[in-house]
Symmetry: C2
Subunit: 350 residues, 2 copies
């Protein structure tokens, strides 16, 4: 075992504080990574505060991890020491179920092993995430990061990037399609960049008039303000695909009406109740669909990172030292970030 | 104009009573049909009682119509006098929008003309449905009924049949698939017969233990009782497709959990709010979809009728005279019918 320093929550109510713990020595299939940057995902806030129940403490959050490989096990061929590498929301899965064999580890039928707030496979040992110096991960769950990308702005791609990329690909978004991204935050700003790079005509759908200018800077062709009923009515039945990144329950009915016949709205943000309830008639009237999508498999995560390198897509980030993580959480709760906090892990040494 | 006798509701609260009205003489593309049988759809009850708002009176309900052609206009080739013919939920559409040109008249972008409780195209004249002696309909909205089928039991196919057949076909239900039909009523009992004829392994999912035997008689391979939490848990992630025929708002979460990854639950019954609201996590966890489907286009309705003739599928019916229509409505409200009331229109002459 090796000693590692990190920051942890000890319960749902206290601030995160320094925490020393141990990680396993790398096995033959493992990669040991020195963590350089870790994004602060909205999920970190939910899990630390136990908003969804079932949180386990001490909790070292962080599942948007970028660093450099320090050491690899003898079976590891795809990475070597000093390579830039990334780790996302998962560190293990059963590898044998029908989802795993189709490279959809995120839907592992035995349950995926999350990067933190979970237990190691067949063990009572808690997993600890990226708010720490180092991490040891099985090679299947590590992606290679092209050096042409700005590493600190890559970290959010490992969760926010793949979460938006995967549904855009699965529902075959591309040229000639009018795509709406609902909500301009960490997920939404990457959704706009990725949908645009895939060739779609992209509309940012937001409640905030003050975000319109920023949406266009990020690449949106158009902005639709959802509180404007006339604008929403004019846009009815005009979208080929909607990516809904709003992180809390909300009324889907006005958005479902924006879809053309036979088209789909995909939820990637809200995991809670969709209140007020959607209406059956909204679906029946145009054979419309509501679907969900969770992150992406590891092969697709590598594909996404390579796509981002090709199109020079990274996250808009605000870099903070680990000592400011509690303040960053408070600002995140108020949506006061454009568009992702990333922790500079070198600050752990101060 | 020609005089026609029927039964009509004069407002949302009174019983249906005899009503004399006029229909147009057939034009060159019209078919005049002597109505033999008309099914009583749950929608008739909703519309007569103005449950959904916007009901227009006097209202002659009925959109599950079977009869014999009396007369055809000079352009009509597909039908001739004395042919058995059917009319469903629609009698007209714009015919030029992208839905109409794809034979999806039910999703006409200008709005389909419903068989009753609607206005004739470009007119203030109300449409009057099948609780009447005769109807005159443009040939596009008339299907030919094979003589090998029992006509009185065919009537419900024109709405309940196509409403269940269309999604089964659109989502490519067939051999090797485990399909669940939720709710055993007018729609559900035809859903079981049709899914079975399409080659699927069919489970009836019902709240009523007393319906289990009947479900098997109708062709269900298995019965799942939704109030049994253990049975529901055992069935989690095992279905390839769910057809939800429940005609009122209900909790979808337990049903969505029954789906395998990447599969779809299709609503055909409930047009109201889906309360309590579904959870985003239920969709995200397995990239699942919730969709709706409304009846079917006219070409597909003909295909469905021909499929039913090939497989000798008709509705289970209870024949009633028009004079008992108000009593039938009352029994329908209590789900006291196995599985569709059909009015014998000859009774109008009594």
């Amino acid at each position: 075992m090796m000693k590692v320093r990190g920051y942890a929550a000890r319960d749902a109510h206290s601030p995160l504080t320094p925490f020393d713990f141990e990680r396993r020595e790398p096995g033959p299939d493992d990669v040991r990574i020195e963590i350089l940057y870790t994004g602060i995902c909205h999920t970190d806030l939910h899990q630390v505060r136990n908003h969804w129940g079932g949180s386990m403490y001490p909790m070292v959050p962080g599942h948007e991890i970028v660093g450099r490989v320090v050491e690899v096990g003898k079976n590891v061929k795809k990475l070597k020491a000093n390579d830039a590498a990334g780790v996302g929301c998962m560190v293990d899965s059963c590898r044998t179920c029908s989802s795993c064999v189709q490279d959809l580890e995120q839907y592992c039928e035995k349950g995926v092993t999350l990067t933190y707030n979970a237990k190691e496979r067949n063990s009572e040992q808690l997993t600890f995430g990226g708010y720490s110096e180092q991490i040891v991960v099985s090679q299947r769950f590590v992606v290679k990061v092209p050096e042409s990308l700005d590493l600190k702005a890559v970290a959010p791609l490992l969760c926010a990037g793949i979460t938006t990329y995967s549904p855009l690909r699965h529902w075959k978004v591309g040229k000639g399609q009018k795509v709406g991204v609902i909500g301009l935050g960490g997920l939404g700003h990457l959704g706009v960049k990725l949908a645009k790079a895939l060739g779609a005509d992209v509309t940012m759908i937001t409640t905030s008039p003050e975000k319109a200018k920023d949406a266009r800077r990020l690449g949106a062709d158009d902005v639709l303000l959802s509180p404007d009923p006339d604008a929403m009515t004019r846009a009815n039945s005009s979208f080929d695909f909607l990516l809904d990144t709003v992180p809390v329950g909300h009324d889907l009915n006005p958005y479902l009406r924006l879809l053309k016949r036979d088209r789909t709205l995909v939820l990637v943000g809200a995991l809670t109740a969709l209140e007020p309830a959607p209406f059956g008639a909204t679906f029946v009237g145009g054979r419309k669909s509501l679907a969900g999508s969770g992150i992406g498999g590891m092969a697709e995560t590598q594909e996404m990172i390579d796509f981002c390198a090709e199109h020079q897509i990274v996250s808009d980030v605000e870099i903070v030292p680990i000592q400011s993580v509690n303040e960053a959480f408070t600002r995140l709760e108020k949506n006061d970030v454009r568009y992702r906090f990333v922790i500079d892990m070198a600050s752990l040494q101060h």
